[in-house]
Every structure is written in structure tokens, then in C-alpha cells.
Symmetry: C2
Subunit: 353 residues, 2 copies
Amino acid sequence: MRPILPSSGMDRRVLLSALALLPALSAALLPIAAQSQSATSGGLLPSWNDGPAKQAIFDFVRATIDRSSPSYLFPDDRIAVFDQDGTLWVEHPMYTQVVYCLERVPAVVAKKPELKNAEPFKTVLSGNREAMAKLSMQDLEKVLAATLTGMSVEEFNAEAKAWMEKAKHPRWNRLYTELAYQPMLEALRYLRDNAYKTYIVTGGGQDFVRVYAEKVYGIPPEQVVGTAGGTKYGYAKDGKPFLTKEPKLLLNDNNAGKAEGIHLMIGRRPHAAFGNSTGDRQMLEYTKAGGGARLAMLLLHDDREREYAYGPAQGLPETKVGTFTQALYDDAKQKGWMVISMKNDWRRIFAFE
Amino acid sequence: MRPILPSSGMDRRVLLSALALLPALSAALLPIAAQSQSATSGGLLPSWNDGPAKQAIFDFVRATIDRSSPSYLFPDDRIAVFDQDGTLWVEHPMYTQVVYCLERVPAVVAKKPELKNAEPFKTVLSGNREAMAKLSMQDLEKVLAATLTGMSVEEFNAEAKAWMEKAKHPRWNRLYTELAYQPMLEALRYLRDNAYKTYIVTGGGQDFVRVYAEKVYGIPPEQVVGTAGGTKYGYAKDGKPFLTKEPKLLLNDNNAGKAEGIHLMIGRRPHAAFGNSTGDRQMLEYTKAGGGARLAMLLLHDDREREYAYGPAQGLPETKVGTFTQALYDDAKQKGWMVISMKNDWRRIFAFE
């Protein structure tokens, strides 16, 4: 059995840098930043600067909703897909779900004391960041399997929800859910206002993202496609049926898996796709290769001051979280994807700014 | 690699009885019976006789849409799931998809002449119905794999669509798509009019049912959950990406697989479920086991004159297509599922009557 990986793009360096920044858990329950989705003044997409990226979104929507347009789409055919980590919210210094898994280890060990002295749990429990950073990918997979599977769907949902209501990002000291990008929330809203069905297509865990996607992005569980494991149907002592999350990978929703996952879960080719890393390449090219008007957008993190800067395009350093290579940048230019410069195209990044 | 089975409940006898009834292909393209979904006079659910089944639907909907009800559901939470074969349309004498697969064999062999003298294709091509009836399940699986996989998603969709536009049921000499049950089309419509999102959850092939579900039932592709195989992302000679259907089973959407498929594809427990066979048992009990108002309905085929009569309940003979056992009937009574008697509860069965 192969454990579920929320994403394939993580290594020890990322773990190390993230561990150095992990905050103590805050007990305070703060409200979720769903308010950030409410309409704002200043016209459509107010957090976007005027420029080619904003214009591309406008042009695409107009071309597909205008009945006289050759690219007109019936409302039922309007599908738009968004990667999550690094596209809809902050992915640095570590994927939020991996932080969740590491922080769940004490609770898992409390229920299964036999893990206490077993690796890699012992190391994670030690809090020794240097030792944790040396954990292998196999070790990390054990942590993910132990914290994401083996419990009922309801138990997992309750645990993840409780964590999301209190866990904070080390840099901003704000809930992760507050770190959704305001321009993307506006793009989601704008597309939905024009009858687009908006989907998340994430390398992260499908069940994990479903816990908060409606509140944060206005996207219901059935419109979240992600890396998914199997479940097993069974009965509790009182005869009630329930589903247990199994360490069996059904869909690795990364790279080609994103196009395959779109077919499995949605069943038709989207007309608009938003991504930010090599893991989104196939989703973007699959979307763009269809007929009629198609929108493919690639977010470049080039704003170290307001967020992060990574990826070799424009001389930024490459990282393992949200890999953005020169080849991806070249692909975007060659295939007609629109590159969004966080620095230049976004007037505001977060709702709290 | 395990080929994709559209359903597990078929054996040689079914094949035999079906082969005896297979019509010659009709070249005439007749209009699809989507018109049957238009509103009819005579109040809500006009094709249902007054009685406990019709009343159960009304009571459930009222309990979940009335804001003063303790079982009120926000519109976003309203999910209803329907089995297809035998619940939304006729499944006798043979699942429509299996007829499709058998009739596709000549076209597959034309493209792959090496199959012409290989079993089981040779037997299917012979037209010798007695020999065909002796094919093993392994043989039949080869037929399904050869006719449902190995082509692009677009090719499959075009082939299946073309077939559905001309293939007719042997008993009524009408398109299969005309054999949707009018009372169920009204129930779908009534639920949607009350903000329910309606899903098909079928043991049949997800891709196959998606081809016509929107036209026949008003259900878009992304709301069809079915037995699903993997796809493989690749590139055509011109560099365009496409997906190839693979003979790799991802989801066997029968029995416990229906509850597991609902979690994978929808991500939350439905509030209403409609089924007709042992393959729907877990879907019905999973739905019914949730809190608040829950509707679980089980269609009993007890109308030999207007449709078919099968299942041991009420002394009907058991069959392998749409297995309805005495234990299932007892389960329904014990767990509070409403049994729909086709004979007594349905005033009209088909739109063309």
C-alpha cells in the first residue's frame, strides 16, 4: 500500500526551512476570512492592476458570455479550474497540509502509544528540528499516512476543521485561511457571477481541502478535485455505516494526474485554468488545447516584499515548493498562457492589507 | 490489469435472453426524449399515484426546504443520488451498456483485424447466439475492455453518442433514451426545482452514462458517478494533449463502492437516495444513516404488463439483472426505506404512453 502524498514537490530543505518557522499552536479561535469574498467597490477585480493579466480575464469572460460571440458558451458548459497551493493561497515555506500532518503527530501517538518510540514519530515528537529535517521521504510518507488515514471521514473532517480554525502562518501570524489571495477570490467570484462553475484542482489532499474550501473560496466539497485515497465502508457497533480513510492512493492529482483527475471528477475539458507550478503544466495545456476561447493563467511569485519570490524566470531562485522552472515559463510564452506577475498585476494580495 | 465491468450482476442466462431479443440496428436517428422532462399539468409528480411513496417524497422535500423545520437544509447542502439501471430507466433484458459493447465488436475488429479469429471476438462476430451465451465472464470482460478502453475520451464519446441516437430496445422498438421512467424524471425535476443537486450513482460506466445523462435526465457530466477506469495523458503527433481510456479500474461503483464513490466524487452524505437492487443497498443505508430528514427509496419492479416483474419480494422471480432479494426487501422494511411499487405507485411509466 502506498501512502497518500499531498504533493510530490517537497524535500528536506523545505521541511527544514518550515520547521524553523513553525509557530506554537494558538488556542484562540479566530473568525475565518470568508468576508474577504464580499463585493468591493471600485469596479470588477479591484485588487488587480490594469494590465494584460486583468484584461485577459475580462476578454475571456466577455468572449464566452456574449451570445453573438463565436466562442459563446452555454452557462452549463462554463467550467474553470484553479490549483490551490501557490495559486489561491500562500504555499511557502511549506504546504499547509504538511504542517497539519506534523502537528497532528502528538494526537496520533496519544491514541497509539506504540508509535511513541517508533521512527519517524519519535523524531517528530522530539521537536529536534535538525533531526526532523533529516527525515527521509519514506519517513514523511509514514507521517502522512498516520495522520490522514485510519480514521473515519467524520473524525478526519472534525480534526482538520478544528486545526484550520486556530493554526497560523509563521510569517503573518494569521490563520492560513486568511492567506487566500484577494485577487484570486475576486476572479473566482467574477467567474461565478458569469455562471462559471469554479473547481479547485489541487495536488493537496482532496478531503483536506474540502474541509475549508466552501468557507474560504465559496467552493463546495464536490467541486474540489485533489489527491485522493480510497475509503472503506464498514459498520460501527451500533450498526451505523461509516467510511474509514484508507492508505490507498486512487488519484495522484499532480502533473498529468491533474488532467486525468479533471476527466474523472468533472468529465469535460475546462475553459479556464489557473496554476503556478510545474505540477499545473498539463492542466494548463489540456485546458488551452480545446477549441474556442480558452484561458490559461500562470501565477509568478515575484514579490518578495509582500509575499515570496521564487522560480528561475526573471532570475528568481528555484525552490521545491511550487516549482516554477525556466522551461515552464518558456512553455507559457510559447503556448499562449498568460503569466500573472504578483508584483505588477496585483494591487493588493490579502484581504487584511 | 483488470478490465472495467459496468456491473457485477450479469451472467450467461441474462446474455442468452438478451441476445434472443437484440434488434437489428436501426439507421434512423430519432429525437431524444428529453422533452419528457418538461413540466406537465396536473400538479407536482403527475405520473405518481397518490399513496405513501409520492407522499414520502413530498414530506421529505417540505421538511428540508421549510425554514421553520428542524430538518431544514441550506440549498447548498441539498444532495440527492439516483441509481440508473432499473431506477431511472429500463434494465431488462440486459444493461444497455452491455448491448453497446457487444454491438461495438464489429467496429473494433475492423480496426484490429488480428482480433477477428481470436476468442471471444470470433464468437460475438459469428452471431451464433447459443455460442455467445456460453461465453465466460472472463470472455465478456475482454469484450468490455476492447470496446470501452484503448481509445481517446473524445473518440469514445462520439461512438457512444452515435449509438445512443439509433439503438433501440427490442421490446418497445424505441430508443433506449426513451425508456427513462417518467415518474423519476418528474422526481428529479421536483428535487432540482427545490434546489437539490441531483446525481446519478451508477454501477454502469461513468463515461458511458455521461454521454447522454444531460439530455435524458438533465444531469451534467460532473454529476454522474459511476464505475470508472483510469485515463492516460499523452500527446498526438501535432503536439496536442489527449486522454486515452485505460483498462484500469479506479472505482467499482457497486455495493459498498457506491458509498465510497459518493465520498470520492461528492464528498458528503446525500440526503436522498433512490435505488432498485442489492447493488444500491449501501448507498441507501449510508444516506439514511445521516441525521435530520433522509429519504431512501427502493423501486420494486412488479409490473410485468407495463414493464417487468422481478425480485423475490411479493413472490416475483429473482433475476441477475437488478437483483432484488427478499433480504433487500426486509432491509427496506426494517430500515425505513420506502418501497415504490411500479404497479401501484406509478400512473404512467414512459413519456410516450
